[in-house]
Symmetry: C2
Subunit: 339 residues, 2 copies
């Protein structure tokens, strides 16, 4: 193994910030050497508590994440923040709410902040985020907060990779609650109504509690890991025990109000995961998803290697023009793939 | 080729309803012989006008689809309706709004109705729907209406496979407009506010027009095929010409009001697709997606064949427990796949 790689591994393990940043950039750029480093670092992962934070824009998410980080810092825990913006083409540095973030947290050696954005596909972003979390885990951060904007498939994928998922709302966003209901609410372990001093906060809290109730009464919906249980993924099968019941918290992040209760619940959620055996189940499901995604990637790479782009175009055109059926086309293509 | 298959092919080509139904059931069940038939029928496809109809539950979608079908029948066009319900585990017969549908359309030889539901994965449903559309296309139906409920990824995938996409809203569903905005609105060629005699219809029409305007001003968003253009799919590249501008129509489907204007726009959209060259582009993109999906399926099948489930479980557990890194795991798995 080249000594550059070995050095990088040692420096990341030692928590050297600059090396961590360099390795993340290499991962984002699809650097081959980075894969070697990730492979070596993998045995050092699985120790951090990964917390996903998501919700619509305008809910004060970044401010709340900063306050959570500050609370954790007072408890002497090291914190890494990965801010993921699927709608932004820019990576590196700090992007989401970066001015406030920098003012509050910069200069603290126990905090690491990184922004990530879409390069190519959303699926690729979920993969890259998972690799970055692995790096920060190996670098021995106690808590890794993954912050995402929005409520799409990318957010659900990213949330799934977290141990604890916090979903944020703010008052008067009745419309967005609908959006969240579609896919994010089912993954929430903790719900927060931020800007709780604004008019309509009670209504939002009630609406969220009603949704939780609805979910609870319809069986598995409310149970953590529900998405896996209803998908075709066999490792998502769940026992019938009640499990974790999400609660709704109110915060005023700009004044730091209500944040400690949220942080305390984050901690008790990890205790629940440990004692219930849910943590081991989630690690299994997560490993399975990771392996599946990497297998698909490897297959696509081999296919792209074996089939010339012009050949692919020729075949696609023949299918579009009904000169060739897609079943025969796929057979032709697979014959050329050494695998 | 077995004569059973040959007979089935001839009967489907001849539009024999019972054979069409049998072949669809075989496709849904993953029958191997069905693949042979689909392969043979493929050259007969590409003639029907495929119309996707989607929108939230409660908008009167099924009633509107029935009225569109009746209008097309008056114009002497044969119509097939495929009703897709991703939330239902039942297939076969007619399900979505079936009572009204049966009363209005049954007994007409120029109409074929079929319901499809999730068996296993949502991706599988999109694939099966595409195969069923192919069968009905080969059976020489002039128009194939694919009706889906909801606003998730499955609906977007299914909508993409249509030539013309109609998105339905109804008054006072402000919340659902948000949901639609997330992924469906961008695929809409025609927007319909049904139940237009209800209070709030004007508001809904205005809200949809405002959304279209927003999309138009932000460039490619409003351009048909936008999803492909912003995805990693290279064949979705679009020219800068304005293209098709979606309009918002008002209907009262229960009274048949406003339906003819919608049907007329469906027809003129196909003229646009033909004259602009957009049809050929969409056929190419659709062929590419179909081939990609089938390649992934073939890969998964070979992998499942080569790797015992217990072996897979062992490897996933080793990765979850950090005894094995996922990169090495994937290498091990791929070594066993003869491809």
């Amino acid at each position: 193994m080249p000594s550059l790689v070995n050095t990088l591994i040692e420096q990341v393990r030692g928590g050297r910030r600059r090396s961590i940043g360099q390795l993340i950039t290499r991962v984002e750029n699809g650097d081959v050497a980075a894969k070697e480093v990730l492979r070596e670092l993998y045995r050092d992962t699985g120790r951090a508590h990964v917390v996903g934070v998501t919700g619509p824009p305008g809910t004060g998410k970044s401010t709340l994440v900063n306050e959570i980080a500050k609370t954790l810092r007072r408890q002497k825990k090291s914190v890494a923040i990965v801010a993921v913006d699927p709608s932004s083409p820019f990576s590196g540095g700090a992007l989401l709410g970066d001015r406030i973030r920098m003012r509050d947290l910069s200069g603290d050696e126990g905090v690491f902040i990184r922004s990530m954005a879409t390069r190519g596909s959303l699926g690729g972003l979920a993969r890259a985020t998972s690799d970055v979390v692995g790096i920060l885990d190996a670098a021995a951060f106690d808590v890794i907060i993954v912050e995402t904007v929005g409520a799409g498939q990318a957010e659900v994928d990213i949330a799934r990779a977290a141990h604890t998922v916090i979903v944020i709302e703010s008052p008067g966003m009745g419309d967005e609650i609908q959006t969240i209901k579609a896919g994010i609410l089912e993954t929430a372990d903790i719900l927060v109504v931020n800007k709780a001093d604004r008019p309509g906060a009670d209504r939002t809290v009630k609406a969220l509690r009603a949704m939780l109730q609805m979910g609870a009464s319809s069986g598995p919906l409310r149970h953590h890991g529900q998405i896996m249980a209803t998908s075709a993924n066999p490792d998502g099968a769940e026992s019938a025990q009640p499990g974790w019941i999400p609660s709704v918290y109110e915060t005023i992040a700009t004044e730091g109000k209500g944040v400690e209760a949220v942080v305390e619940t984050v901690r008790s959620h990890m205790s629940y995961l440990n004692s219930s055996g849910e943590l081991a189940k989630r690690e299994l499901a997560q490993s399975r998803r990771k392996i599946d995604a990497m297998l698909q990637e490897a297959f696509t790479a081999r296919l792209n290697n074996a089939v010339e782009p012009t050949e692919m175009e020729r075949i696609v055109a023949a299918v579009a023009e009904r000169r060739l059926d897609p079943y025969s086309a796929v057979e032709q293509l697979l014959n050329g793939v050494p695998m």
